[in-house]
Symmetry: C2
Subunit: 430 residues, 2 copies
């Protein structure tokens, strides 16, 4: 009897009918002889509704009370799902996060799972019952209720799978798995059978919709194979794991697109130690997340510092920077709205020549101008005009023949333009 952890998100349990669909799916796994622990989120828009309720009380609800409030959402779902399973004739017991043994630390609303003492869940499974566990929540060592922040239910599921030494951890979602690119943009985007943890993390903008990065990190840390699959049918989805046996030859795993970015350039910054630290400390203190950072030497003794922020954060960022520009002796502050990031990700990239060049050529052939380039070991990101993002994704997907796995070998027999060597064209400070 293998232990299987299954996680169903808020949409999958959005109403009573859907809760029954989940119950039947769980029951099918039980019928196959498995011990099943199910992790569920709050129903549909419940979390948003609870946030709105809190906001109607006060514009600034305390984090402690917010966590107490929000955690009721999953508690409702676990009780209802356990009832549905029971009414189908399957024994089931629900557990809140604290009851299941999720020990949290960190902030009240964005806490981490410090430990998972799943003794009660284990007892329940040992009795042949289904354990239904509330995702997204836990309690700290003082018994205070915490929530894990967005995507927390995925992390609960993976951490539970680790604690139970489960045979597999299935994350059910409304998509079929992880694709080489967003299928709404690239029509022949291909579903990946497997992807490494690191690739999945770099594909966050693709992956976050199906699997939260923190869950991926948790899976990587504990070696939990995560199966991202559809809750609408029984076809296999995408396995997220350490080593990939199949598709070894694939250099590029997928393409991620992030629209809604703003580019900021601090031009003519004196080339002295500590200037970048001052600029980015000021931004961090304003709670603004900076994404791409590129520093390029403009002329002797002066640098240009470029970086991107989420478009929503642009006004706040400019307000922080404007007084600072003069203070640090920089010449000018530029910004550009409506830019987007397109990234290619693949574990094989570091050992494969000409990948960057291929990406640039594909975009050049479409007349797409590249604003910033940044790279990591397994990822190359280009900042381009937002209105060309779909064209860029299609061109790159076509260039690397991602629709067809067999046409992307590592042995060089491919006639593609993967030939250049200058795949580190500028230095990412990130």
């Amino acid at each position: 009897m293998a232990i299987i952890v299954q996680k169903y998100g808020g949409t999958s349990v959005g109403n009573v009918e859907r809760i029954y669909n989940v119950a039947r799916r769980v029951a099918a796994s039980v019928d196959e002889g498995h011990n099943v622990a199910v992790v569920v989120s709050a129903m549909g828009d419940t979390t948003d509704e609870l946030v709105a309720l809190a906001k109607s009380v006060t514009a600034f609800p305390s984090e402690r009370e917010m966590a107490v409030l929000l955690s009721t959402g999953e508690q409702v779902t676990v009780a209802l799902l356990a009832m549905a399973l029971q009414s189908l004739g399957y024994e089931a017991s629900s557990f809140t996060g604290p009851q299941a043994g999720v020990l949290t630390d960190g902030s009240k609303l964005n806490s981490r799972i410090a430990a998972f003492d799943a003794v009660k869940v284990k007892e329940t499974l040992a009795l042949g019952k289904v354990a239904v566990v509330a995702g997204f929540q836990g309690a700290d060592k003082d018994g205070e209720i915490n929530t894990l922040g967005r995507g927390g239910s995925d992390t609960t599921a993976v951490a539970l799978a680790a604690a139970l030494q489960a045979h597999s951890c299935e994350i059910y979602t409304d998509v079929d798995g992880v694709y080489t690119c967003d299928p709404r943009v690239v029509r022949d985007a291909r579903k990946l059978d497997e992807i490494t943890y690191d690739e999945m993390l770099e594909l966050a903008s693709l992956g976050a919709k199906v699997l939260h990065p923190r869950a991926v990190e948790c899976g990587k840390e504990h070696g939990v194979v995560i199966h991202v699959r559809s809750s609408f049918h029984y076809e296999p989805g995408t396995l997220v794991k350490e080593e990939i046996d199949m598709e070894k030859g694939t250099v590029i795993r997928g393409i991620a697109c992030d629209a809604g970015q703003s580019k900021i350039a601090v031009v003519g910054v004196p080339d002295k130690p500590g200037i970048a630290a001052r600029i980015f400390s000021a931004i961090a203190n304003a709670c603004i997340s900076v994404d791409l950072i590129v520093q390029s030497i403009r002329r002797e003794g002066e640098n240009d510092i470029l970086f991107t922020v989420c478009a929503d954060d642009l006004p706040k960022t400019l307000a922080v920077l404007e007084p600072l520009v003069e203070e640090v002796g920089a010449k000018e502050l530029f910004h550009q709205n409506s830019v987007a990031k397109v990234s290619i990700v693949g574990s094989g990239m570091a050992h494969s020549a000409g990948v960057a060049a291929g990406m640039f050529q594909a975009m050049a052939a479409e007349g797409i101008n590249i604003e910033i380039i940044s790279t990591s070991e397994i990822k190359i990101t280009c900042l381009i005009s937002e209105d060309r993002i779909d064209d860029a994704a299609r061109a790159i997907h076509r260039h690397f023949k991602l629709a067809d796995v067999t046409l992307c070998p590592e042995d060089g027999s491919d006639e593609s333009e993967i030939s250049g060597r200058n795949n580190r064209v500028c230095r990412g400070i990130q």
Copy 2:
């Protein structure tokens, strides 16, 4: 700094505006220099809505999961009330029942408070914060979530007051206090300043609307003075306590009416040991609550057994009894719908002559026929036709001059008809 426990019911926290009203009321007590622990119920109809949600999943939800589901109701309220207090500038922390230290035993949905380890609440109060505690819920020794059943929030408040050795326990409600009779029936019904625990228990049908009997029992056991008062104004309500200093002369404290009863008579029961036990065991096994039970000797060797059940339970009761009547050798089974109980309650009654006679005279003067009479130390109950219940209440209220406390002395100077001695006219087996 005195510790005060305040309890607000579902209506008082029915929406965000009302939650703020409660917060301001709590804040006023803090401003007076008190340490305040607040116990709250689920908002408005939340509990009923959650029950309906469960019923939409299955007609027979398990008690365990029902308790998990229902307990979310108060958890939402405590978080919102703590937020409201914080936004008014008062430090506050919420606690679920299990977090507050409510240890329960018994059934999942109707459990009792076995112990209240209020260490966290005490710590919170010691820091000068308001503790906001979820009523109606607790956890058993295995950490399983239980609910206390209807009226459980009152019990939570009284048990918390006992655990904290609080100066007072204030139960806020939508009525001004406990009245000599339902003011909707008897226009000049008078609010009682004080009432004993026992009287309050006997007045359950009056009292249950303002204070649950289990809370009264808990108060009696731990000597907690309970102040039942209005959440709409600051006038004092009714103190429920062991000894009553004022109104010592009052023989009758109040009148309770219970409509919606059915009378059942098993006629010609052989006068043998064990027959009554068989009849009432069968009824109990069908989960039917029996109220008044009167056994009267009809003729030699045969008894009549009369009792009442809630009208809703009549068909079920008859179904249980019909086969049994023949089995025990009884002659006939009668039933009568649309009967009601009218009761007078008073601790002084046992030592006061002619109370029962006075009650019967008052009804006789109105032409009201008495079907069954049953008495306890501090209560006399008559079963009458349901359509005369209001007339009976008014006549008895007038007879004992309950509207005016000064006209009910014990010294006999009153010209009322309290003169008879036969205040035990039949034996209640109850």
